[in-house]
Amino acid sequence: MRDEIATSPLLEIRDLRISFRTEHGLARAVDGLSLSIEAGEAVGIVGESGSGKTISMLAVMRLIRDPNAVIEGQVLHRGRDLMQLPEREMQAVRGGDIAMIFQDPMTALTPVYTVGWQIAEQLRAHEPLSKRQARVRAVSLLAEVGIPNPERRVDEYPHQFSGGMRQRAMIAMALSCNPSLLIADEPTTALDVTVQAQILELMRRLRRDHGSSVLLITHDMGAVGELAERVVVMYAGRVVEEGPKEAIFRDPQHPYTWGLLGSIPRVDRARVRRLAAIPGSPPSLLDLREGCRFEPRCGYRFERCATRPELLERVAPGRRDACHLDPSVRPALRRAALDGENAQASA
């Protein structure tokens, strides 16, 4: 099934724009997001609250019901534009070929039915199965995601599961129809560190076994590092930088990415005196500038930043960034951004 369209990406988002009409004016949540994901690929979208990462994925899944939302752009999947699909066909895609998991499992699990019932219902919505067959599949899915005693657990309610177990149950549900793309929105954020490690391990294994593509949405650079091959960094509704994970971590191009990496205390090396925090806070979506949106917080802004920097290949194939700084001056500025204050502090 996957081979016949091997030439085009599994999912391609073209110039997605999302805004909301509010009483204070138009809130522009996403401003021209273009992104493609290949079969079997794992892509991480990184950004802080309000960067537009979650809302973009909800738009892809056609889950934005707000009548004040204005959504433009194309989402191409297997040669079809999901934005134009009748709702009935979209339902077959949702939970079938594209599945989504959320930060809070309780948004996807209803408290009034058993976990097994919910997985079985999902299966039967997409496949012609008897109740018995669906239940058997539910048990084996729970076993696959590492839930102990699945035969007993299948008849329990979500509140009887711990946070980590619920996250596993939701993953089981998402995987039930063997999706070719799994969209995971902050799947580990609400979990404890050791449980986070378990869930990331599980997702890595499932990707290996099923060959699914994964789109991981997170604010956590660490989780991205664990799972993604390619990283997209978003800020205030736009992509500021994208490229292979190693390149983004080792040779980040955009001052926002520098700030993001510098803000994270590193556990794998000697302590720094001060974190390289980004000053200020993200802009209001009601009052966005046309130029670079990071400009007011950027320590390297100059006249050209008043015009919008296009997302272009500037330093290497497969790497794009939206920054007016000349690529040749960036490494020195980055070193100063990440180490400058500490170099001064220790001097």
């Binding site: 802080e48 609250s49 102990p148 711990s162 946070g163 980590g164 177990m165 404890d192 560190v193 050791t194 449980v195 986070q196 490690a197 378990q198 990331l200 391990e201 604010h219 956590d220 650079m221 660490g222 989780a223 590092g225 664990e226 190693e246 971590f249 080792r250 700030g259 993001l260 990496l261 510098g262 803000s263 994270i264 205390p265 590193r266 556990v267 794998d268 090396r269 000697a270 302590r271 720094v272 001060r274 974190l275 390289a276 925090a277 980004i278 000053p279 806070s281 993200p282």
Partner: protein
């Protein structure tokens, strides 16, 4: 703590226990059970230092924080603040101590009354302790706002007019109002975005330098805790499993739980390995933290520990010194570390090296 080599402790807790009774079953008629939230924790915080407390949900770190400032009353044990035993003081007797120990909470949305203006929120401590006229309070609130990096012009705004990071700054300003000696910060940055986290962490750092504050910094984020702390205490199911200086704990963990916790932290490989870069191999713990209602016998970590033997389920390990202020409670210390003999305190150097 037996480690009293340096200046006398500002805050000392001995064998703190907090049990919460719960009833189970229909209409609360079931048997009475007890949540062992904090079960025998002793610690000492020296003036000017930051003691980090880490652990996963349910390890008792937040309950411990609240016990330390007497927001909870301990079931047993004692708390000595600045030389005075405050364990059983009445509310009235506590008052002079309250102003010296403040708390910063996790959720800046929940800990600020949405119907009060900043001038009231930050000025309340002055009014409660009967300090200054209205004009005087106003002036001092403006000063505090400036200290935490907010505009003094925002004094008449409501909490909803601020971002999460700014609200946390308001929380910090309020905690600073009465010039406390000790601040217990319970997950002060975990609700904030990464770039804002770094701002608040840097702010807390600056304030400590400026006012000589002592912090108890409670968090689940090992990166943040290590960054801010001088010493770190690791908790598991209501008990302390290990205490050491921040660098020692990260370089040479003795307890297998500490080791697993550290290894679970995702590492961002920036490819520029510097001196002191540590690569850990991931230890994925099986299962989850057991219920604090019926904690495991012996070492509470033994059901999930890969080194566990019979002694671990039979006998609760004591917190013993390994030299240089490093303490751990484990029957099978990692890396062949051996506890110091009964005569402690002299040969501390080998362990720290």
């Amino acid at each position: 703590m037996s480690d009293a080599s340096q200046s006398p402790a500002l805050l000392e807790a001995t064998d703190l226990v907090k049990h919460f009774p719960v009833r189970t079953g229909m209409l609360d008629r079931g048997p009475k059970e007890v949540v062992h939230a904090v079960d025998g924790v002793s610690l000492a915080v020296r003036p000017g230092e930051t003691l980090g407390v880490v652990g996963e949900s349910g390890c008792g770190k937040s309950t411990l924080g609240r016990l330390l400032v007497r927001l909870h009353d301990p079931t047993s044990g004692s708390i000595v603040f600045d030389g005075t035993d405050i364990t059983t003081l009445s509310r009235r007797q506590l008052r002079p101590f309250r102003r010296q120990m403040q708390m910063i909470f996790q959720d800046p949305y929940a800990s600020l009354n949405p119907r009060k203006r900043v001038v009231q929120l930050v000025g309340d401590p002055f009014r409660i302790h009967g300090e200054g006229s209205a004009a005087e309070v106003r002036r001092r609130v403006q000063g505090l706002l400036e200290v935490v990096g907010l505009s003094p012009d925002h004094i008449n705004r409501y909490p909803h007019e601020f971002s999460g990071g700014q609200r946390q700054r308001i929380g910090v300003a309020r905690a600073l109002a009465l010039s406390p000696k000790l601040i217990v910060a319970d997950e002060p940055v975990s609700a904030l975005d990464v770039s804002i986290q770094a701002q608040v962490v840097n702010l807390l750092d600056d304030l400590q330098d400026e006012f000589g504050l002592t912090y108890v910094f409670i968090a689940h984020d090992l990166g943040v805790v290590r960054h801010v702390s001088d010493r770190i205490m690791v908790m598991y199911l209501g008990a302390v499993v290990e205490i050491a200086s921040a660098d020692t704990l990260y370089a040479n963990p003795i307890h297998p739980y500490t080791d697993a916790l550290l290894s679970a932290m995702p590492v961002i490989d920036t490819g520029d390995d510097l001196e002191g870069t540590v690569r850990r191999s991931r230890i994925v713990l099986e299962g989850e933290v057991p219920s604090p209602i019926n904690p495991p016998t012996g070492c509470r970590f033994h059901p999930r520990c890969r080194y566990a033997t019979e002694v671990c389920s039979a006998e609760r390990p004591q917190l013993v010194p390994y030299g240089d202020g490093h303490f751990a409670a484990c029957h099978h210390p990692l890396g062949g570390a051996s506890p110091m003999g009964a005569t402690e305190g002299t040969t501390a150097s080998e362990e720290g090296a």
